[in-house]
Amino acid sequence: MTAKTSTTEMVDPVPGAAAPHLPQRTELVQLLTPEGDRVEHPDYSLDISGDELRSLYRDLALVRRWDLEATALQRQGELGIWASLLGQEAAQIGAGRAMAESDMAFPTYREHGVAWTRGVDPLHVISLFRGVDNGGWDPVATGFNLYTVVIGAQTLHATGYAMGLQRDGAESAALAFLGDGATSQGEVNEAMIWAASFSAPVVFFCQNNQYAISVPLERQSRVPLYQRAAGFGFPGVRVDGNDVLAVLAVTKAALAAAREGQGPTFIEAFTYRMGAHTTSDDPTRYRLASELEEWKLRDPIARLKAHLSRGGVADTAFFTGIEAEADELAARIRSGTLEMPDPAPAAMFDFVYAEQTPQLAQQRADFVQYHASFEEGEH
């Protein structure tokens, strides 16, 4: 039964062994230090106005508030679950703001920040986590695909969409979001293979938040993730994911290259999931509090705030204004959630097919009648 067994003594395998034959130096693109100082990068420049800087800050602050409110709503039993973006605001706002209107985003389940930049109503996103809808918004009108819960599946959709753009001669690109854990899925690797093979205008934007639920990055890769791309024949770059300016610059460059026919890029946004994986998760079981404390020093919002304040780009009034706007947003999200109507029961039969089948129409009719029978007190 066992082929060529020798000893059966147990030895713990050595995961993540060093790979000394590979260059271990990793270059992190940064335009803003954790202290909020602006630095230059030879490959990525960014010319940005005060207005734009303030508007970036506004996005960061508002999505964080949305996120906190949603977490609170979940704790109060109003949502089934919530996947918090806490700590990843800069990665998401930077990426989202880099997109042109005609580009299309393919998110996972955590890209609330990108949703925000695409004009998706937070309540539409919340409807998914409240269990009101399996989708929630109009992916076509917003250029923001529905959330994809099956890890990695959306990267192939993005690649196919990009192949469509290519065939249309459209000067647009697809932006596929994925997590560090997702890089281990076969489908994600296939997406990169396809993107390379067809030189498709797709950018893979990986938020390496260091964990796939409880599993640290080392289990998925023993070399930095951005290096994966070279193996498939296209560029990979690692950007400081807590630096909204660097993310913006790098993503803009990659999308522009894609639109110009230069094919895919893989962006690894190096960041940290400051909260739990979702509200169902308990991170104390698998990571030390000290780790979080370290990352708090790199908080993406504090960083931009320091930059704005120090450079005189924004004053207290501005920040107070944003605070007030955030309060309003939170209130709207709260009331909107509480008032959100439940879906009509028979709705579950309605969009299974574009052309309803007689069989399902019959099931629907029986269902409606069965329900009516309760109201008539038949049961």
Binding site: G135, A153, G160, G164
Partner: protein
């Protein structure tokens, strides 16, 4: 009237060509479908005429084929994906079941998935493992998919065009061992609806249901039975999801007996669903339980044994005998 004698294979080829001419958004994807024209030559000549952008030789990755098809469909294309053999559809299973099948519902109609998944299916060609499977039940159990199984050149020619025109995702099963069967196809005729079964031989004693490659077998059985004075009504189901059972109910109410034939393993094969529904609807008309003739509940055997594994005329007649004996 343009009537041509076509094999099923050639009918599919012409149907694909027609669909591509009619709609510039139709594109074909698959392994070896370009220069080679597919291992069964179903796409022969199409890349030459429609170019590499519309007849796409893909990397060797079935999840990739279906996953990118989803994205292309979102962009307004109508991808027709060829899976080289039935046994190789499983790497794409995740995309088919969790994405292709559910996208329309998930988006409440905003993202239709007019994706056709062409699969040469079934056994009888003397092949090695994984080349002779009948996976239709896996798809028919999946809400959001429609599943078609053609049995003849006429349905092949029209069916592939109808499937491509349909806004829903369709698993389109081609009876590979019948690819070379011929019939007259009237290219100007009006097609029968895709999702409808068809009585292909009238009879009074037992209703025999089949689809895809087994329709021929059922008809042979009916022929042989007739010689012994037994009259079988044969229904070609044509589509196995949704099932169009009204004509079957009507038939069974007359005959009181029903036998379902397919190559897939009996357990949880289409015969199970049909038996359950026919029994529920025709309970008081049945003189015997619905009997099933199918593959055994084993992996598809090495080809030297496939004739033993696959339902044939004798096994259909045996079931008919047992039905009559109840």
């Amino acid at each position: 009237m343009a009537t041509e004698t076509l094999t099923i294979g050639k009918a599919l080829n012409l149907g694909l060509r027609k669909a591509m001419e009619d709609d510039a958004k139709v594109l074909l994807m698959g392994e070896d479908i370009g220069k080679l024209g597919g291992v069964f030559r179903i796409t022969d000549g199409l890349q030459k005429d429609f170019g590499e952008a519309r007849v796409v030789d893909t990397p060797l990755a079935e999840a990739g084929i279906l996953g990118t098809a989803v994205g292309l469909a979102m962009r307004g294309y109508r991808p027709v994906c060829e899976i080289q053999f039935d046994g190789f559809v499983f790497p794409a299973y995740n995309q088919i079941v969790t994405q292709v099948a559910k996208m329309h519902a998930r988006s409440r109609g905003k993202l239709p998935m007019p994706v056709v998944i062409r699969i040469p299916f079934g056994g009888g060609i003397g092949a090695v493992e994984h080349h002779s499977e009948s996976p239709e039940a896996y798809f028919a159990h999946t809400a959001g998919l429609k599943v078609v199984a053609v049995s003849n050149p006429v349905d092949a020619y029209w069916g592939i065009q109808q499937a491509i025109a349909c806004p829903d995702p369709i698993v389109f099963l081609e009876p590979k061992r019948r690819y070379w069967e011929k019939a007259e196809v009237d290219l100007d005729a009006t097609a029968d609806p895709l999702f409808a079964s068809r009585v292909v031989r009238g009879g009074d004693d037992v209703t025999v249901l089949a689809y895809g490659p087994m329709v021929k077998t059922a008809l042979q059985a009916a022929e042989a039975a007739a010689e012994e004075g037994r009259s079988l009504e044969v229904v070609d189901l044509r589509t196995v999801s949704p099932l169009d059972l009204e004509p079957v109910f009507e038939s069974v109410r007359r005959t009181g007996r029903c036998v379902v034939v397919h190559e897939a393993p009996v357990t949880l094969g289409l015969g199970a669903e049909i038996a359950a529904r026919v029994t529920e609807t025709c309970f008081h008309s049945l003189e015997a339980p619905v009997l099933r003739v199918g593959g055994y509940d084993t992996p598809y055997p090495p080809s030297k044994l496939e004739e033993e594994y696959l339902p044939d005329l004798d096994r259909v007649l045996d079931a008919v005998d047992r039905s009559m004996g109840f």
